[in-house]
Symmetry: C2
Subunit: 571 residues, 2 copies
């Protein structure tokens, strides 16, 4: 069976032997032209999928399987229980298994979901999801067979059925089709869900734990049980028991549409008239807007959209860009939310002394709605003199590589952290005992490559990130200056207190009063002053009103002091 | 015809309308799973192909067509004559045409070469080429139909035939197959070659000229005639009349091989015994090395490679990494060469005052041989107080985007330019009237994305780039310090000369000699001194002997002065 998988045309290998070519003719060139399968392409360009080195490879494999499990559970409205296990099976070789309690995958789909690149359910929908390409998990199969020659093992059982199915699958790279090695029924084991197992050449680093911990922060409704290669078991518990609301699917928005897309939609529509077509097929277009578009395009609102000529589509497209259309519906965007994000950060970083989170209202770029969330965790056992730890997320998935190319890093570096009382040299990352979390969610996240490691720095996205950071930064600044002032006042009072006996004695001599009475009064004044300082300036200085925010000083009971005037900055 | 191109399953569009999904079952999910064609994938992710914005789009279209023309001409050993024309045909719409005198494309191949992504002649060979993926030109067809709804027009005539063929082609994105709109014979026009014409939504910037100028520098054997949208015609002439030698194709090198590749080769080989298999199918493996590999793997050298089991392949692979194998043959790498590069830079920058070029001996990363070349152009009309202009090339193709992610930029920034008498603040680009050219050529250039805009910063590659830069930098330093010293000496002498009459008078009084005679002697001494300074220290201080170098002070006749001791640095 294995033999049939790696097929290579013999003539190609022959060609590889002809060393020097001299003046080839068009006919000779034609003999060499042939189709490249998408699997062959990514096998050779595996770095585009994140498999550039053995350390990263292990992480990618865990990540793709876990992301799929979380998507499936969320779609099926099941609180996810995910079991991740990494076992060493030889020098630089690991067995990775990931099991979920999701809805399972129906028998017929299993081979294609795992054994075919560019196959999936999410690509053709405008809906917020972790996956969007139909490449991730089959890329893992590709990597596993390329490096260890072993197939992906899958156990799947759908909800309500007694028996499940077990498969062992390779990818036939020259055809980009699944090659089934084993196919059988199984009964025992878990109730419903999917369990994957694959062997890969890799190197183990603690980054897997980082990824799982961050995943747990951005998915507080998920429980993840992880067993490391040394047998250590870690449980990332649920910090909330409720799934986020389902993300709505959106129709395309007129802004930023292209000729080809408009043509495609016009051919597939069931609407008979142009005006109705606009209302039915596009997001945020009502009857009035539709009429206005037809008018600007100088097209009859009753025209059958299927009969549109090339030039008519062009006119329609032009009008759709010119006429004022409302923003896309923002229910398509499901942020983590300030409440859940704060709970989650508190449960993951219980020793921190201050946490603040911000969730901006959704914005739009190229017709796609998106929202930015920011969290700052400060103090406690976080390292004092190192650069802040930046945690980046896209649709709840932690991004661990290519930070240099990411919109988040651009936004953090462009922020003037000194304004918020945080060290920063030049335009580098701020320095201090701090975790900075940035999350972008939306129906279409623009990644800089297929490996989805960094968010492309579109100006609209960077701007929103900066606004969210500034807003959270002001809150941090209030906390830090309050802390500083309180510290100073306390120090002054403590000095005063130290000499209170002497002061009382002097005052008693001067006023002929009772020394112990005076000393008592002095001490109560000091105590009062210190209490007053604790609550001084307990007022909220607002941002631009575009974001929702939550703040908790975790360990101390004091409220943050007022912001300094210097903190009010231009946006 | 057009109607059939954009096919969309009606049920998908219906699904897009179902707004909120609640608790989907595995069966419901299965209904949404389907294949994604590579064309659909790249249509949606067109930024991965370089089509992120209209300005870049125009450049990509010109670049892909020109690169293909250059590859075809070089393979056919024809000195390339390329005609590029950009015409404005409406608001943000341009007609781009590129014509070459290459060998043409045979009739049967035309539709697939242009109407199918991942189709080409270069992917399955390890040979230095501009193209390597089989995506570039069909991506342009995709972009043209997506933005303007118009097909790619192709005229092709092969060498020796009287008639050519004309095609108009779309890509059926849901099938990734060509859709032929027009197909006819034509007789008049050019002798042989290909002419392409396509309409795209784009924006025009001078970057197109930058790309063509740089292409002309790295391809000094090519003639490019370019007509800009405003009708301005520019000819980039040939600076040499000889094509570079053909790049040899190489067999895979044992180092860095993977299980899947080894298995594939073992199944396709015609060798009957393991030892012979190793000698025949791999680069740099002789009979002794082959026997050694078999010994280390504990496998019989007479074993039939086709019968190898999974574990045996694993052992063989392990042994191939352990046994010492010679480097891959470096004839696979064809650099521009110091002579041609220098000629080319001189002809493109005739007003510069100094040019130096370096071509390093080939090195190897992951079994792939590669070579680095560097050129520095200094002075003349280049801007004084701006960052040096960095020109990046991969296999003679200029790279104009994603500089931040590129190995070249990393190498330039990590170089200490102050050592060479060039301004640099921190680790940014050096400042001065300077062009810095860096070229990487090799059988497989690792790009950071499909759009091939930046070279992935593998440590081996960055190191070679730095060594080449340092070598050229030392030469520049010699030139600059010579220039500086000469200037100072001249200044001193001129002052001396100014007072020579007074000095002569004083000397005449003291020695009772003849004043005019003394003055004559003094003046001749000054003249001699100034000549001496012009040629002082005319010796070559070597680098690590690993690179070939050429230097020309372009406008001045003087030779560079000696290197300062501080210039000799560790590598």
């Amino acid at each position: 069976m294995l033999r049939t998988i790696f097929v290579l045309n013999r003539c190609v290998l022959m060609a590889e032997r002809t060393a020097v070519r001299k003046g080839m003719s068009a006919e000779e060139m034609a003999k060499e032209q042939r189709e490249i399968s998408i699997s062959e392409f990514f096998e050779k360009n595996k770095h585009l999928l994140g498999f550039d080195n053995p350390t990263k490879a292990l992480l990618v494999v865990v990540k793709e399987a876990t992301d799929n499990s979380l998507d499936a559970c969320q779609d099926a409205e099941i609180l996810p229980d995910i079991i991740v296990k990494i076992k060493s099976i030889g020098e630089d070789k690991f067995r990775v298994s990931v099991q979920d309690n999701g809805p399972g995958i129906v028998k017929e789909q299993i081979p294609r979901v795992f054994g075919k690149l560019l196959y999936g359910s999410k690509f053709h929908h405008l809906r917020q999801n972790r996956g969007q390409q139909g490449i991730g998990i089959s890329a893992c199969v590709l990597y596993s067979q390329l490096t260890t020659g072993s197939p992906m093992r899958i156990w799947s059982k759908t909800e309500g059925s007694k028996k499940g199915y077990h498969y062992e699958i390779f990818i036939n790279t020259s055809k980009n089709e699944p090659e089934i090695v084993k196919e059988e029924e199984w009964v025992d084991g878990f109730d419903h869900g999917v369990r994957l197992e694959m062997d890969v050449t890799a190197r183990y680093r603690k980054w897997v734990e980082d990824y799982l911990k961050q995943t747990s922060v951005s998915n507080p409704f998920a429980k993840i049980i992880y067993t490391a290669p040394d047998g250590t078991k870690t449980t990332y518990a649920r910090s909330i028991d409720k799934l986020p609301r389902q993300a709505k699917e959106m129709r395309p928005h007129p802004y930023g549409l292209e000729w080809g897309s408009l043509y495609r939609i016009s051919q597939a529509t069931q609407s008979r008239g142009l005006a109705g077509f606009l209302v039915n097929e596009f997001s945020s277009v009502g009857a009035t807007t539709a009429k206005e578009i037809c008018k600007v395009a100088r097209l009859d609102p009753n025209l059958n959209p299927k009969t549109l000529e090339r030039e008519q589509i062009e006119k329609l497209l032009g009008a759709m860009q010119k006429v004022k259309v409302q923003r896309p519906p923002t229910e398509c965007v499901v942020p983590i939310g300030t409440e859940d994000l704060e709970k989650s950060l508190k449960s993951e970083y219980p020793n921190s002394e201050f946490i603040t989170v911000r969730s901006r209202n959704p914005e739009v770029y190229r017709g796609f709605p998106f929202a930015i969330e920011v969290g700052i965790v400060y103090g406690g056992d976080l390292p004092q003199n190192e650069a802040a730890q930046l945690q980046r997320f896209a649709n709840r998935v932690p991004l661990l590589y290519q930070a240099g190319a990411c919109a988040t890093v651009e936004a953090v570096k462009e922020t003037d952290w000194k304004r918020y009382g945080v060290q920063q040299s030049g335009s580098s990352l701020p320095v201090g005992p701090m975790i900075l979390l940035i999350h972008m969610c939306g129906v279409w996240v623009p990644f800089v490559s297929e490996s989805k490691e960094a968010i492309a720095p579109y100006p609209e996205i960077v701007k929103e990130m900066k606004l969210a950071i500034q807003d959270a930064g002001r809150e941090l600044s209030r906390y830090l200056s309050g802390k500083r002032r309180k510290g100073e006042a306390k120090r002054r009072m403590l000095i005063f207190e130290r000499y209170s006996t002497e002061v009382a004695e002097a005052l008693a001599n001067l006023t002929k009063g009772d020394k112990s009475d005076i000393e008592k009064k002095l001490k109560s004044m000091i105590a009062e002053k210190m209490t007053f300082d604790d609550t001084a300036g307990n007022e909220e200085a607002g941002g631009d009103g575009q974001s929702d925010g939550k703040t908790t000083p975790v360990k101390e009971k004091t409220k943050p002091a007022t912001a300094k005037p210097a903190d009010v900055e231009k946006k």
